[in-house]
Symmetry: C2
Subunit: 166 residues, 2 copies
């Protein structure tokens, strides 16, 4: 499989997981959190499939297509290690969906970064919230969900935040 | 359609056109020319589907994944407006496939750049050669080919260089 093949499969997996997540949270209230704006493609997809949700984007420095930049009051600029702790009060256990795409091409570094960020993201999410991520995450109380049909295990990841009783 | 949807379709169209081009040139000799290395994904795809061809890559400055950088003797570094005229003697009417992906996100600028480069590329190609391009190109003697099934008109472009008698 060429890198072009692999990249297409990764994007298809990403889209399938976002679409599945949108269905899974349909009956729950709360905003959506996008970690990393990048070129804005997944933000654009999220607002297309979740037109009635507030979507907040965390990004270090905006470099997206001009059509794909969120309004200033929904853009949280800065390093996640600083902006996530500062966002705890604002989003405390309210967010219903989080998308974390920080795969950098260097698997070990991506996993280490994700592992350091996940405990900072967890307090923002409500019970029943869905997390869509690459790389994989291991957080107490987050249960891995089956992937949509056609998505190979390991290409993208879906988790559901447990309810307190679980 | 979101930008994520659109991007996936573009990559699928690109791959389908490259795969089709590889079949179309199967009975013709000659090297393959890749204009723009970028991250190296399409170069990696070309060498996967054309393992017995010499593939030469023209690139201004290499920023590809380390696994996707061609050997130094097949990498032609510099601005295409300088390296293409200099390559006429080396490739004079010998290349069998050219892939030009210079869509920059700004359609008018991409088309103007492609229009200025196409006359410099044409002398490198043999009769019967196939050109895969985005944006579209208009070159005397290049005939637009039907796109593979599933590729929407305008997403990517295929041309065949006419034989002298055509």
């Amino acid at each position: 499989m060429s890198r072009l093949d692999s990249f297409i499969r990764r994007l298809q997996a990403q889209r399938a997981c976002l679409d599945r997540a949108a269905l899974l949270i349909a009956d729950l209230p709360g905003p959506v959190l996008e970690f990393g704006l990048g070129n804005g493609r997944t933000f654009d997809h999220l607002r297309a499939i979740l037109p009635h949700r507030d979507i907040f984007v965390f990004e270090r420095a905006v470099a997206a297509h001009p059509d794909c930049i969120p309004p200033a009051d929904r853009l949280i600029l800065g390093d996640l290690r600083a902006t996530l702790p500062a966002a705890h009060a604002r989003f405390a256990a309210s967010a219903v969906l989080a998308h974390l795409d920080i795969a950098t091409g260097e698997a070990a570094a991506s996993r280490a970064l994700a592992a350091s960020l996940a405990p900072l993201i967890a307090p923002l999410l409500r019970p029943g919230a869905v997390v869509v991520s690459e790389p994989p995450l291991a957080v107490p109380g987050w249960r891995a969900l089956a992937l949509p049909d056609g998505v190979e295990p390991g290409r993208y990841h879906l988790y559901r935040v447990a309810h307190a009783a679980e």
